[in-house]
Symmetry: C2
Subunit: 206 residues, 2 copies
Amino acid sequence: MPKKLFYQLDIDKRNRITDAGLIEFAQYSYNEASTNSIVKKASIGKGSLFKYFVNKEDLYFYILDYVIADLGKNLKEELPKLKGDIFEIILIYAEAEFNWYIENIDKYNLLKRAFSDDSSSIYKKTVERYKLTGDSFYYKILGYSETQALKWEKEKVLNVLKWVLEGFNAKFIKKADQYSNINDIKDCYLEELKKYIEILKEGLCE
Amino acid sequence: MPKKLFYQLDIDKRNRITDAGLIEFAQYSYNEASTNSIVKKASIGKGSLFKYFVNKEDLYFYILDYVIADLGKNLKEELPKLKGDIFEIILIYAEAEFNWYIENIDKYNLLKRAFSDDSSSIYKKTVERYKLTGDSFYYKILGYSETQALKWEKEKVLNVLKWVLEGFNAKFIKKADQYSNINDIKDCYLEELKKYIEILKEGLCE
DNA sequence: TCACCTAATGACCACATGGTCATTAGGTAG
DNA sequence: CTACCTAATGACCATGTGGTCATTAGGTGA
């Protein structure tokens, strides 16, 4: 975590540093991200950065903490809306996540990179640091669903839903550049996802 | 592609270079991989490497070409075995791929990295170079399946199958370290995958 | 033995990295 | 104005990078 000096800065400077770090770590892997670039982007001296943070890793986890807190806050706001069977829940959850993604692409890319590149030198420390959140949160949300008649083990059904959602998201994001209007994207996303969920619901329910 | 000089080398030296490059690029991203390490691992002089290859990128694509050719050869051998409906085909295909993976972990990791890290500076050139293979191959294999009554659009069903297979593989590989006996792993993989395919077959067929 | 050729080499280059530290700038108290 | 303090700074350091090139080693023919 940052030293006291960092919190004594005026808000503008602090935001400049946070934003610069976020953009850099979203665009490049931990090792490829450059503190020199961050310093330039934030318009501060190189020495200052290492007065505010003990080293690159410290800066990285400060940024990551911040992003995860932001996502958590956003998802908590959606919690009361989660009602219905797991298929409806999945839809509501996916829509919330997708909306967050559309408006926080840098944060989304940072998270994706942080928890998917398991060969990065920082990955081990990352999963260690956040082991209590992560997947468990996903299942907690699903815990909100009404109990319901499934043809199969609940764990397997959840996995199938999770993998389809992940695959669908990845595929959709890749082709999302085509759309220009942001509302078109949201509509199209939801409409297409609904079909997949419909297929699974019909197939996996009693 | 390598210069003529490379092909004039005796087989042992050539293999040392290929292996060293494979291991390095499997372990580290393109930018993080070090030509110095490769040179040391292969026990050749730094200058020699750049006599054989015009630059790092040239070496990288030589290795990648080699791995893709190897995988292609392996899968072609499995082609005659692909018979039945798409669910049976998926199982046979997944088993072949998994066996290849188990015995070619470095090659597998290299491929995974090459086609998943879409932020790497080399990624664009990579997909450009191999755009004719890739996903299309996957669907070609599924083309071997007997036509069969599906409740839904074939494309969506294939996507669901693909995503579940991908998700299952990723999950399985992560916990594969637990097993010591390689045959246990293979058995366990196939057994668990079968259950998922069974679920999907029952759910997605007429 | 000598001259010739080519393949192999590692010292070397310019550049970028994470991190340091002596110096400076700017505000405050007397 | 001076003396003091602290926060900000960028020149600097050791290390590592991809890539080069003058030198060397070793084989061949006369």
